[in-house]
Symmetry: C2
Subunit: 149 residues, 2 copies
DNA sequence: CTTTTTAGTTAAGCGGGCTTAACTTTATGC
DNA sequence: GCATAAAGTTAAGCCCGCTTAACTAAAAAG
């Protein structure tokens, strides 16, 4: 596949640069909140996927129900999560971000965007247009690929 | 800044999709190796930055010298790292990936690339070209931005 | 209506990462 | 040359995430 040969290098270089930045930023943010990665992960899931039960947590992160319960307990104690009885199934709990939890998560996401948006701000209009187009294509392709699987 | 208004949404969507995939993949890889994140992080640093002393580790990850020493010890025990006396400063140690360590890291990186390269493979030639150009621009801009700082 | 399955909790125990503190060894500053 | 600083190591102790095991309560199956 000749086209791959061409695109491989820029693809990899970009991923290296981007991942490096992102990982660092993410770790710093985690540290600044005082929360652990697993705890932050749960908040993120609640943000992106909305309300879920405890079972949703243990499945998503491949941990035991006990582990999920304990992690959630801490987040509830810290005031980031709300744990209410599910009216349709009284065994189950509905987990939701509190206002504080939502704020924390959106600050984290915000911070994640910031570097890249600053990057885009430094580009001229034409480059910006190219990148807009390219990222739209990529996002679309990623969605399609995930669907197929 | 009118151009930001336009580019913000695709930028964010792409980042969300990409980060989500990458993080998941990275966690899975970590689990598959049996190594912890901090340990993998050290191997990655050694891969990208080359030989360094223990002090390099503690600075990079913001941990105490004691913590770095203990982490490195485990990696040496596991056969991923080589710890040799620095001939120029006999207090210091030179850390290097062993063959096994290098193999492990490059497999991890490989896996990180795979999803995105598959993505690119599914695109037509024209889209591919656009993406190549866009990523090259972005990488270049990122380098410049990091230099300035 | 009883049995079984499902959702979640609690407690005990393990291993990991991290810190501080005390220490050894080698290099530097004066 | 002697005091001080720097590079690592080791040990004690803390918190954390995770697992297994034992349990409660509610729903589903028969």
């Amino acid at each position: 596949m000749p086209k791959s040969v061409q695109i491989t290098r820029p693809l990899r270089e970009w991923m290296d640069v981007f991942m490096h930045r992102s990982m660092r930023g993410w770790n710093q943010f985690a540290k600044s909140t005082g929360l652990s990665m697993p705890q932050l992960g749960i908040l993120m899931q609640l943000h992106y996927k909305g309300t879920t039960g405890l079972s949703g947590i243990s499945e998503r992160f491949n941990i035991s129900a006990a582990a999920a319960s304990q992690l959630v307990e801490k987040l509830v104690q810290s005031g980031y999560l709300e744990r209410a009885e599910d009216p349709n199934d009284r065994r189950a709990k509905n987990l939701r971000l509190t206002a504080g939890g939502a704020k924390l998560v959106s600050e984290g996401i915000q911070e994640r965007y910031r570097w890249m948006e600053k990057l885009a701000d430094n580009l001229n209009l034409e480059d910006n247009k190219k990148i807009l187009e390219a990222l739209t294509i990529l996002t679309e392709a990623a969605r399609k690929m995930d669907e197929k699987k």
